[in-house]
Symmetry: C2
Subunit: 286 residues, 2 copies
């Protein structure tokens, strides 16, 4: 088990010249016909396991996307919803995808986009699930139920909780901007989490559609990495995000999912994904 | 597919004289030796599928618990964390458990305790996962990211979103009691959700350790069912909950998990669970 640190992550960012995290929101229905067709031919062996049917198609697609985009990315983020949707078959595809990244691209940071959040006993089970059963480096969490729902995830050396602070959807304003004692809820979330963690076990989700908020967040949260979704399909600009949000260790993982995965629906989908990845979240120190 | 309504649920509450929801937080490590031993003998056939190993053990245990407690319960609530922990094997056990309840106890209300909450596209996938792939009647959701993260779940006739308002853990006070414009966050959550839903597609989670809050909640939320965890192992009293929280349709599902599942760790575990279930969340109109 490789333990990831923010220094190691920054080294990867410098090496690749990129802050890109590729979101693996892999939807079976949207896979290229080429992939669906090949998968009707039978099982695929990988890492001592057999993959068939939809699990094979998803693993095939993810492998091609990962190999094509790896030169331009420092992280991958499978979105749990798309795997859970296929039940046990989807969980197998997820396990195969994570195992493949670990074997072929061992320096990648792998995030489970799960938005979990539950009380003590259940939170412990989720932490074991994502960090032991599944070997992710990090998992996204929802803060609504408070600090003790996050703590079990902080007990793992070299693993990260990534707490949603400010999301990129239209309804983010419903609750996250409510002000109490002069502070927005999302600021109180960040400060409460920071008081009980370190930048070596805690990151925050801050949506890219809120780039104007990033500079303000950096004033009270200078050191934690921020995972920034909402670039690409959701309309945020990676340049704005880097300008407002970077810190002395890079400090950003900028996610793009659909814009890369579905850059082409034809046989050239992997090359198209690579081309798109190469343009997204480019980071240069000079 | 049976569509559940609050009237149908109330009929079950009257019929059973109970508001009990049994939480299926089934932890393989805590199963009775008898179950673990039997499952080493080979596969078990059920509903045209084969179950082996830990999936077999969990399905066997759940079947015994469900058959023993069904006379005293109106709902079952598998806790996703305990199934996800076992990966694809756990998802198979979950699917088997839900299929068994549907077949043998078709009037039961089945809740996925998942605490999901994510943006539009992902929320739609979760709704399809829990209501189509898995056939649950309801799923628990975290409200942090706002109304649009809940909406896809409200589009299913006869299915319910159960939004966490006030949780039963010590850290529930970190954010849920923050006051903005004179209202607590959890009240704002309830009112925002109520404004965009009906009691036929929305319920709320309110922890039983907060029984004093229940009567106050009933003043602005008279009609929605409330799912109340925290009875039993977590220390809340079912009598207090019923006194403070019931409405004209019953209006409560009172959950107990560990107190029932692990009432005995011996061969009599199912009888012990039944005895415990019979004493919990008893409801009489006269």
């Amino acid at each position: 088990m490789i333990e990831m640190t923010t220094d190691a992550l920054y080294q990867q960012i410098l090496l690749k010249g990129s802050m890109l995290c590729v979101g693996l929101d892999t939807d079976y229905e949207r896979l290229p016909e080429k992939i669906k067709f090949e998968c009707r031919r039978g099982d695929m062996a990988m890492g001592g396991k057999l993959y068939s049917g939809r699990a094979r198609a998803i693993v095939s697609f993810n492998k091609a996307i990962i190999d094509a985009t790896a030169p331009y990315a420092v992280a991958y983020k499978p979105n749990m919803a798309f795997y859970e949707y296929l039940g046990a078959e989807g969980m197998k595809a997820l396990e195969g995808t994570v195992a493949y990244i670990r074997e072929k691209h061992p320096s990648m940071f792998i995030i489970a986009d799960a938005k979990r959040g539950d009380i003590g006993n259940t939170a412990k089970m989720y932490a074991k699930t994502f960090f032991e059963t599944m070997d992710f480096d990090a998992v996204t969490l929802s803060p609504y139920m408070g600090m003790d729902t996050v703590e079990p995830f902080l007990q793992y050396e070299g693993r990260f909780a990534i707490v949603v602070a400010l999301s990129s959807n239209p309804s983010s304003c419903d609750f996250q901007f409510l002000t109490s004692s002069g502070k927005t809820l999302y600021r109180t979330v960040i400060e409460t989490m920071m008081a009980n963690s370190t930048p070596e076990n805690m990151m925050f989700v801050v949506g890219a559609t809120q780039a104007s908020e990033l500079a303000a967040i950096r004033e009270y949260c200078p050191d934690n990495f921020l995972l920034v979704p909402g670039v690409g399909a959701q309309g945020g600009s990676a340049e704005d995000v880097i300008r407002c949000g970077k810190n002395s260790k890079g400090g950003l993982l900028i996610n793009s999912s659909r814009g890369i995965l579905y850059a082409s629906s034809e046989a050239d989908f992997a090359q198209a994904a690579a081309a798109k990845a190469a343009q997204t979240a480019v980071f240069r120190t000079s």
